[in-house]
């Protein structure tokens, strides 16, 4: 038996079995064959995985801000669960990006135990993030959150359903798993959308305001970046423009049941010719990253 001089001795080394969670990082793709499919471009596949991974990571962080702040306990738990699913998708996608193109991973001090997917999440600067701007926007009230979750999960579900037949077996497996998770997210958001639309005058007013706030960033989801077009041509990715019609039909279904018109608002303009997929982000992104990354960056050789 170990004789501990103080309560903290046991934290250093020794028998890891005393911990509920392992003290070592584990590779989420341990044993998975990450060989590139024939004809796939490594750098493009990695860049594409960063786009899908960053969407999930940044949105997961935003949604997790609802933990302990939601209107009631059920919604608190629901939003935290959605955030957890997305975080899991992000981890796998960033690990896939790192395996495809190790050069995409920021360099850390020698001996750093930080795994590649964490290096990508915590040690890239704002301009290196490839998420759409929709996911980085501040949560707003619960109605705004419901609208944004409906738009995002409808888009992402349509996308990952097609991605499940990717020629990259890793991406295909991650996508097939995500389909099951996103089905629950989209139904959750759709039901709340309807509930708020048919609720009180105030809930409906807030929902309409939410739509007006979220809608200008909706178009950006379906504008293909060169990388997305390239991976789609190579059979490993999906051109987001190809899911626009399906998403449109589904959203129209929710709008018509709710008795709401889709907003007629111009889309948020690009910044210096670029959008989120080019690393050009909106004001909230910097603050989000500051909070998300500060602890990891303060301890680049830390073990967690």
């Amino acid at each position: 038996m170990t004789d501990h001089h103080n309560a903290y001795d046991g934290l250093l080394g020794g028998d890891a079995s005393q911990w509920a969670f392992g003290t070592d990082f584990e590779d989420p793709l341990a044993g998975v064959d990450t060989t590139l499919p024939e004809g796939a471009d490594a750098a493009a596949l990695a860049a594409y995985c960063l786009m899908l991974g960053d969407d999930a990571l940044i949105y997961s962080h935003r949604l997790s801000e609802w933990a302990s702040n939601a209107p009631d306990l059920e919604e608190d738990i629901a939003l935290a669960n959605v955030a957890l699913d997305l975080l899991g998708q992000a981890r796998l996608l960033l690990a896939r990006a790192a395996a495809a193109d190790p050069d995409a991973v920021p360099a850390l001090p020698p001996g750093s135990p930080v795994p590649p997917e964490d290096a990508l999440a915590f040690f890239r600067d704002e301009h290196a993030f490839r998420n759409v701007r929709l996911v980085e926007a501040e949560n707003g009230d619960f109605a705004v959150t419901v609208v944004r979750l409906l738009v995002f999960s409808t888009y992402r579900l349509a996308l990952v359903q097609r991605l499940a037949t990717s020629r990259d077996p890793v991406l295909s497996a991650i996508a097939a798993k995500a389909v099951k998770e996103l089905t629950y997210h989209r139904d959750y958001a759709g039901r709340w959308f309807l509930t708020l639309a048919r609720g009180t005058e105030e809930s409906r007013r807030r929902l309409v305001r939410g739509l007006d706030l979220v809608w200008p960033l909706h178009d950006e989801l379906f504008v293909a970046h060169d990388v997305e077009r390239l991976v789609a041509e190579q059979g490993v990715g999906v051109d987001p423009a190809s899911v626009a019609d399906e998403v449109d039909v589904l959203l129209e279904q929710v709008f018509s049941v709710s008795g709401l018109e889709r907003p007629r608002l111009p889309r948020t303009g690009s910044v210096a010719g670029g959008t989120g997929r080019h690393g050009r982000h909106s004001e909230g992104m910097g603050r989000l990253l500051a909070e998300m990354q500060v602890v990891a960056r303060a301890h680049p050789t830390g073990r967690w």
Partner: protein, 169 residues
Amino acid sequence: MSGVRTSAGAHEVAAAVVDPEMPMLTLEDLGVLRDVEVGPDGRVTVTITPTYSGCPAMATMRDDLVHRLADHGYDEVSVRVSLHPAWSTDWITPRGRRALVEHGISAPGPAPRHDGPIALQLTPTRRVVDCPRCGSSETELTSEFGSTACKALYRCTACLESFDRVKEI
């Protein structure tokens, strides 16, 4: 402790490891344990399939597998992940389903099949769910998201107890 190091022996040890969040289920009952093999060098390779992408229990499952196998003399253990096919609640064994109900958790029904576009469900899916405590079918869904990612929360309107249900995926 040492014994005969066979794939069957290692499988027996690995199969008895329990889920960290639902300890009434072994990893085999849960359907997470896909394969256990002992190589000619005595090295054990365990293959598992994650339940949910972000399930925090996966790290614990790996650790528990390594430790329990080490307790039985299998010192070299690596745990691999198999992502395809994705885990489904259909893989939970009949024994696992009985164990869930015995512990007050409703067992999942058949997982939905997704062929073609997935229809939007704007009203809660009606499922026949029996209360694991009193057996009544007078139950209602409280939330699709329960105490863990894999569970939904229900309420029995007969005995008024709330209960968890492993949701079908």
